[in-house]
């Protein structure tokens, strides 16, 4: 029997989940390892959420569910649309998922090809794709890198281009492994490696441990709760 934790309640303005609703999400890997034990959460437009927790808490697994790369038991609604096999292409354009290692995210020889990959596979016209590529690269201030070769970029440059590769799909929510540079009005679910950054950039924090959400609320309050932080292996900022 999995241990169930009660989610500790912290203050946070009510959110009806107009961007994202997850209900009772369970997932176990083929080798039997249980990764998610009934996750439920809401995200609203403009929400900036830090998803924190120790290694193996299930953060990455949860993120991979949000655009259907992993399929667990439970319900996921994006913008009121229930995620299913039929609307997978549409969902994938709504969720901009950026992976941790930019060398995995940038798989094309040139920056242009990489940023164009998403819009192209959404079925957009050639001229629309070009417009999207330009505006995405403008947004991360990398427009002059359009014709560069990916392997010539520095790690920092790669990370910014990696964000552009999903911005070009015009998603309604960004799901990132690390906080992105610059302000984006979109809803953002980020798993920062540094809790100090969480404090500065994300008003809301969700704490995960062992496949459960153990706390959800205002970042200020959560980061003050030393008992909670030590219980889940998180460093105090």
């Amino acid at each position: 029997m999995p241990i169930t934790h009660a989610t500790e309640k912290f203050n946070y303005p009510e959110c009806d989940g107009d961007v994202l609703q997850v209900r009772g999400l369970h997932f176990s890997y083929p080798d039997g390892h249980i990764a998610l034990r009934g996750i439920s959460l809401n995200l609203c437009s403009g929400d900036k959420v830090a998803l924190v927790g120790p290694n193996g808490a299930g953060k990455s697994t949860l993120m991979l569910h949000l655009n259907g790369i992993l399929e667990g038991r439970g319900e996921i609604d994006l913008g009121g649309l229930r995620l299913s096999r039929d609307n997978l292409p549409m969902i994938r354009s709504m969720v901009g998922l950026v992976f941790q290692n930019p060398d995995d995210q940038l798989f094309s020889p040139t920056v242009f090809e990489d940023v164009a990959f998403g819009p192209l596979h959404m079925g957009l016209s050639e001229s629309e794709v070009r417009v999207r590529v330009d505006s995405a690269l403008e947004a991360v201030r990398m427009i002059s890198y359009k014709d560069r070769l990916s392997h010539h970029l520095s790690v920092g440059e790669k990370k910014r281009i990696a964000i552009a590769t999903v911005l070009s799909m015009n998603p309604s929510i960004l799901v990132l492994d690390e906080p992105s540079a610059g302000l984006d009005p979109r809803a953002m679910l980020v798993s920062p490696h540094d809790t100090r950054l969480a404090q500065e950039l994300f008003p809301r924090t969700i704490v995960m441990d062992d496949g459960n959400i153990v706390a959800d609320g205002l970042t200020m309050e959560i980061l003050k709760d030393e008992e909670l932080l030590t219980a889940h292996g998180l460093e105090k900022p």
Partner: protein, 263 residues
């Protein structure tokens, strides 16, 4: 750490750099085929072929000696053709004794050997020039538009992209091996050839697993951006009148070369 040694492209803004990559690929291949078709001892035509290389080099801003300096890569292979010196019947040109055998170089053998080496030497220069004036991703596009199956061009694009990432990994592995194989003064480090081969094999196995796992993550990244088995690409190149003009000029030159070589 960057394996820039893999890049053969030289950044310039010459007429040859700006030429459509499809034209460059087709002309280079036609030129090499033409060399292979020239009969042995067509010295005039070989001279014209070299002139073609020089003209192309002049158009590339890389300097006339650029391809020449790098063309010696084919010389080791010329060893396999050495045997034709002695085995093709003809008038003896020179004779010598080596170990227990007598060797006779014939005039026909010499003609054939020199022709093979010249053909190869001129052909490789145009190939060297091709990658020096064309970015590799543009070459891949050219092949895509020349109807090479998308699956092959995509594998090549991935190979090119991850060649740099994985070779950096290899360099790290090799360094780790080096730093661990310490030896006492005056002693060779490590065991015999078998042991060394096994260490290399373990490294290859390790690299295989890392690459395999990486391909999984890349697959996820592709899925997340809407990949569903169908590969789509944009054609970034357009053929202009200028490109056609160069193509026609090159083909006329090649035809002239064949004419001179045969009549």
């Amino acid at each position: 750490m960057h394996s820039d040694a893999f890049d053969r492209y030289h950044h310039h803004d010459s007429a040859l750099h700006r030429l459509d990559p499809r034209i460059k690929v087709v002309v280079a291949i036609a030129f090499i085929i033409s060399n292979a078709l020239l009969p042995d001892g067509a010295w005039m035509a070989f001279g014209l072929a070299w002139l073609f290389v020089l003209l192309a080099s002049a158009l590339s801003d890389l300097g006339l000696g650029y391809t020449f300096r790098r063309s010696f890569i084919v010389l080791p292979f010329a060893l396999v053709a050495v045997t034709v010196l002695f085995s093709i019947p003809g008038k003896p040109v020179s004779q010598f004794h080596f170990m227990m055998w007598d060797f006779t170089v014939t005039d026909a053998g010499l003609l054939r050997f020199v022709s093979i080496v010249i053909r190869s030497w001129i052909s490789v220069q145009i190939a060297i020039l091709l990658v020096a004036v064309t970015r590799f991703p543009d070459l891949i596009h050219a092949f895509e538009h020349l109807r090479v199956p998308a699956i092959l061009t995509t594998i090549i694009a991935f190979l090119y992209r991850y060649l740099f990432v994985l070779s950096d990994e290899v360099i790290r592995l090799l360094r780790a091996r080096q730093s661990r194989s310490a030896a006492a003064a005056g002693q060779r480090s490590g065991g015999g050839v078998l042991w060394r081969a096994r260490v290399s094999g373990n490294m290859a196995g390790q690299l295989f697993l890392r690459s395999y796992e990486r391909s999984d993550r890349i697959y996820n990244a592709m899925l997340a951006r809407g990949y569903a088995g169908q590969l789509l690409t944009l054609n970034p190149h357009e053929l202009h009148g200028r490109d056609w003009a160069y193509a026609v000029a090159a083909f006329l030159f090649i035809l002239a070369m064949q004419f001179v070589g045969r009549f």
